[in-house]
């Protein structure tokens, strides 16, 4: 709650600062996010500000929400730290950018804590609307325009679907309150058809937000067309928020109906992993590949939703989103450098990066290995926790997930291969590395290392 206020105020401050002094924007945003992070930490580890349950009918900042908020704020902070360069061509709209990112983050925070469907809806919209704009923020760039339009059209279409589901839930349970809904559903043995339909329709709407197959079509195009940092933001914060919302909704409102919704969710999970991974094999563009990667991770994360009711499902999801976000941001950090040097985003831009930029190459390589879930990196623990949580209920799905993570090696390693094993020289223009990127990436890397050696510190958090 405190963090939400800090972020909102920071966003306002940034909007005003953008009118006068643009050099202040990045530090200001960074300070704001770090303050919010500190506030979340205070809630999480310390005595807390004590208004966790103040507005419990609408949102509730309990450890779950705080921990996920920590992940999202941390990811945003790192992205802002990376932004020194990525946004430099934005001129007069720079302030709006930081502001919108922070607004979007506010939406994410709502999604971590909602206890009412109204808040879920508003949270999703607050998260999404700034992103529609940000995706197209390079106004003269046709790809950005196209991305923005695709995102927007499909996003509002999905919003319609989601709302239809909410309306049906309301009709069946006479409430938007998650706890009440759960009470009405009871153990789920006398669910009216309307409620069932509503759950299905909600799965559709949320699947879009987390880019699960077959509602994932927007993701590759939008990821590719958006500015790099916005893509990173979408891949990390938006994904985390979407899953937290998905998880909360189903864990709080629909646990009784699990036997009904587990089938479609499992189906979506299976489709998501498989389609994303086998499509990713063909990609030649780093951002597109990362988009499919993020879709495939959505497939794994759905396992946490499926594991609702098992001890450790939420822990696993928290750990997974954190490691996934860190690795993705590190990868984008390195990619920004490459894109700056070569002006390309295809894999051959990475050729012999291992020699030219050993640090960035190492960061990227470790990120890729972590995303692929290669032991002992943090990504492995993420997968491990997820798989363990869902294993007892869905062994076949775990086997599928395992096969898919093997397939994923193929495309993650393409980058590694290009960086270290290719004997062709990639195109290059010498570029000075800004301190922000270096530090952001190093911090991300340090955190990945930390999670590798001490997974308990996050896994044991909630």
């Amino acid at each position: 709650m405190t963090a939400l206020l800090i972020l909102f105020l920071t966003a306002i401050a940034v909007l005003f600062a953008g009118l006068n002094n643009r050099s202040l924007l990045q530090p200001l945003s960074l300070i704001g996010t770090l303050l919010a992070l500190a506030a979340t930490g205070y809630d999480l580890f310390g005595p807390g500000f004590g208004w966790g349950a103040e507005y419990a009918a609408m949102f509730r900042f309990m450890p779950f929400a705080n921990a996920f908020a920590g992940v999202a704020i941390l990811a945003t902070a790192l992205i802002i730290a990376l932004s020194g360069w990525g946004f430099r061509n934005l001129n007069s709209t720079l302030g709006d950018h930081y502001g919108l990112i922070l607004f979007s983050l506010c939406g994410a925070l709502v999604l971590f804590s909602f206890t009412n469907l109204t808040m879920l809806f508003l949270g999703i919209e607050i998260l999404s609307i700034p992103l529609y704009v940000l995706a197209g923020s390079r106004r003269d760039d046709p790809s950005g325009n196209e991305a923005a339009l695709k995102y927007f059209l499909m996003g509002s279409f999905a919003t319609g679907i989601l709302l239809f589901g909410m309306a049906l839930v309301y009709g069946a349970t006479a409430s938007f309150d998650l706890a009440t809904i759960s009470r009405v559903i009871g153990n789920g043995d006398q669910m009216p058809g309307m409620l069932k339909v509503s759950i299905l329709v909600l799965i559709m709407g949320l699947s879009f937000k987390v880019s699960a197959v077959p509602f994932h079509f927007w993701a590759p195009d939008v990821y590719q067309g958006s500015p790099n940092l916005i893509t990173a933001f979408m891949a990390t914060v938006v994904k985390t928020a979407g899953f937290a919302a998905f998880y909360r909704l189903f864990a709080i409102a629909f646990p009784g109906a699990e036997s009904f919704w587990s089938i479609p969710v499992a189906l979506v999970a299976a489709l998501t992993m498989t389609v994303a991974n086998i499509t990713a094999i063909f990609q030649q563009d780093f951002k597109r590949m990362m988009a499919y990667s993020s879709i495939s991770h959505a497939g794994y994360l759905l396992l946490a939703v499926l594991a609702i009711g098992t001890a450790g499902a939420d822990k696993a999801m928290l750990f997974y989103t954190l490691t996934y976000s860190l690795a993705t941001i590190c990868a984008f950090g390195a990619f920004i450098v490459v894109a700056e040097q070569t002006g390309k985003s295809t894999f051959d831009a990475f050729n012999s990066l291992g020699k030219k930029q050993p640090l960035m190459a190492a960061v990227l390589a470790l990120s890729m290995l972590s995303l692929a879930g290669i032991p002992p990196l943090a990504g492995f623990f993420g997968k491990y926790f997820l798989f363990t949580a869902a294993f007892a209920k869905y062994p076949w799905l775990i086997v599928l997930a395992v096969i898919n993570s093997a397939i994923s090696i193929y495309y993650y390693f393409k980058i590694v291969i290009a960086m270290y094993f290719s004997r062709e020289e990639g195109p290059e223009t010498a570029v000075e590395l800004p301190a922000g990127i270096r530090w952001a990436v190093l911090v991300g890397l340090a955190l990945i290392a930390w999670l590798t050696f001490a997974p308990e510190s996050v896994y044991g958090l909630i």
């Binding site: 709209t93 409620l195 069932k196």
Partner: protein, 166 residues
């Protein structure tokens, strides 16, 4: 009486909606949509939600649709020039939508259970009651919606304005 009214409005709204979807001229679409909105407003009145009906007319017909119309005019799209999609595509889309409808209705059929209370409250849709609920129970979303508006505003400005030195 209410039944007939409902059916009339329903038929009109469906027809108007179809008209919007099928008319080739975007401006006609807008007008059909506005007509649909009016039908829906009629339904609201039928449901004793007068305040909602008013707001609906003001916001949708009065603001949003005018905005659409404005943009259409601005971009000079008020002609029948919109290229049509191929017939196969339209049939495919029709089949898809039809199947969606069939599955939805099929799933809903017989499963619509709304626990209508014994003593219904006719005052629910009145402005006084709504205001009370909105500013007590729903004050948080109300505030949060502020963020949404601010964000949308900033966003609209961002995409709309031109760089001074581009």
């Amino acid at each position: 009486m209410a039944q007939y009214l409902f059916l009339t409005l329903a038929a009109l709204s469906i027809l108007a909606a179809l008209g919007m979807v099928f008319s080739r001229n975007p401006v006609h679409s807008v007008l059909f949509l506005i007509f649909t909105f009016f039908c829906i407003a009629g339904q609201y009145i039928l449901l004793n939600a007068q305040f909602l009906a008013v707001v609906h007319i003001i916001v949708y017909a009065g603001a949003i649709m005018v905005l659409f119309l404005f943009v259409l005019m601005l971009l000079n799209l008020n002609k029948d020039t919109e290229p049509q999609k191929s017939t196969i595509w339209r049939i495919t889309a029709g089949i898809a939508s039809g199947m969606l409808l069939v599955t939805l209705v099929g799933a809903l059929r017989g499963g619509i259970q709304v626990s209508i209370p014994e003593n219904t409250n006719d005052q629910v849709g009145l402005v006084e009651n709504l205001g009370k609920v909105l500013f007590t129970d729903f004050v948080v979303p109300f505030e949060i919606a502020g963020i949404l508006f601010l964000a949308a505003m900033v966003g609209a400005v961002l995409v709309g304005k031109r760089d001074l030195k581009a």
